[in-house]
Symmetry: C2
Subunit: 244 residues, 2 copies
């Protein structure tokens, strides 16, 4: 058996997220299906990040064991030949047995994009959250600073979360405006469910003047979900890269 | 009655082109429908370029007369509020009666994009033609040079074309590679049906080594459609700008 690592791009619009679910089309489900055909046996696919329904990936990472031996190019092309065009394998390579896409991951990098203009963009509407009123990036930046570092992020995940603990270390939380696009980039070894989207929704509330930068620190410290802002829509979120 | 000019962006994927057709959803049809509601009477919409089914626009231009008076912002927002998100009005302005989007147009600028890489791009698949084999831009450039200027373009439009004459003046036909994307840009006061896509399909044939640059000149001179290359898929084409 050979352990393979693949780097995957997908437009998540038409999928019920990464994780296999009965009677739902998911990214993991599609990969499992085509790899099991390719290897003539049930293949298990391990993913770095369980992206939610509608969330995209520029660089999701997965691994799996196959009985058949493939060159990088063979495996990449065989997979792409059997996947819909909204999922693409960018790269495939054979790795030693110790590699696991989830447990070996050091840092996951997400980006949340807002199309911040009077008029929406028809070509990006699947990939951004459209918000008209001009966002105050300086205020958002100040609010973001309070979230960087090691914290209990209970305020930024559903109260009924099944994670064992809610401590996570946010290595980076940056904001940038490029023309009409405001990007929020976040990096951590792990995130809680909806964490990036709830951070984005809370920062958007700050940017639109609905809450103060200081209230974000207080929400974090309260560890109560009700003190943070709304969960921003899935379409704006993309898993950009996983570092090992 | 006031004459209004609008600049329109659209993702043409889900439309049967610009022009109104019975029982088909078209861009002109959608604009006609919402403007007739807005003005409480049947409104006629004149467009600069009749884009085909699946073709996109970054800067299509149209005009129409309304009884109601609107500020630019009011008209833009009222239209955007009633259109699907894949059609956006970028700008609206009141103009004198002499302005007609079609007959006043001086130059139409189209872009044909090819995603030229081993692996397709899931985020651009609606907006580019995906072709794997590396295209030879230098050869394509040489072939393109033969097409610039005033010619009978019969070889680049269907034989059963209903245009009165097939003489057009191609002001510009440029090629550029930017990473994985090869762009063909074409500018003329008017184009024949499928002309840009047939030029693109013929240049792609040159770029992939299937025909010589010289054969393109011979095809043009022959004025026979069968001597040019295939009509490239609609999804790669975008009406970029109309100059007045």
């Amino acid at each position: 058996m050979q352990n393979y690592k693949v780097i995957i791009q997908y437009d998540g619009t038409d999928y019920h997220g990464w994780q296999v679910q009965p009677n739902r089309v998911t990214i993991q489900g599609e990969l499992t299906r085509i790899l099991s055909q390719l290897d003539d046996r049930p293949v298990t696919v391990y993913g770095a990040g369980r992206t939610d329904a509608g969330v995209h990936a520029e660089g999701q990472v997965a691994n799996f064991w196959l009985e058949h031996r493939f060159s990088s190019r063979e495996l990449r092309d065989a997979m792409n030949g059997n996947l819909r065009r909204d999922i693409r394998i960018l790269d495939a390579l054979a790795l030693d047995d110790a590699f696991n896409a989830r447990t070996s991951a050091k840092l996951k990098n997400y980006r949340y994009r807002i199309w911040n203009a009077d008029v929406g963009n028809p070509f990006l509407s699947r990939y951004v959250y459209q918000y008209r009123k001009r966002l105050d990036i300086d205020e958002m930046h100040e609010a973001a600073a309070a979230l960087v570092g090691a914290h209990d992020f209970s305020a930024f995940t559903p109260a009924q979360s099944d994670a064992e603990d809610h401590f996570r270390t946010l290595q980076k939380l940056d904001l940038e405006r490029d023309g009409e696009i405001v990007s929020i980039t976040a990096a951590a070894s792990g995130f809680l469910r909806y964490m990036v989207r709830t951070i984005a929704g809370t920062l958007i509330d700050v940017g639109r003047g609905r809450r103060s930068a200081k209230s974000v620190r207080l929400a974090l410290e309260s560890r109560m979900r009700s003190n943070a802002g709304p969960t921003a829509p899935a379409c704006g979120l993309t898993l950009m890269r996983v570092d090992y």
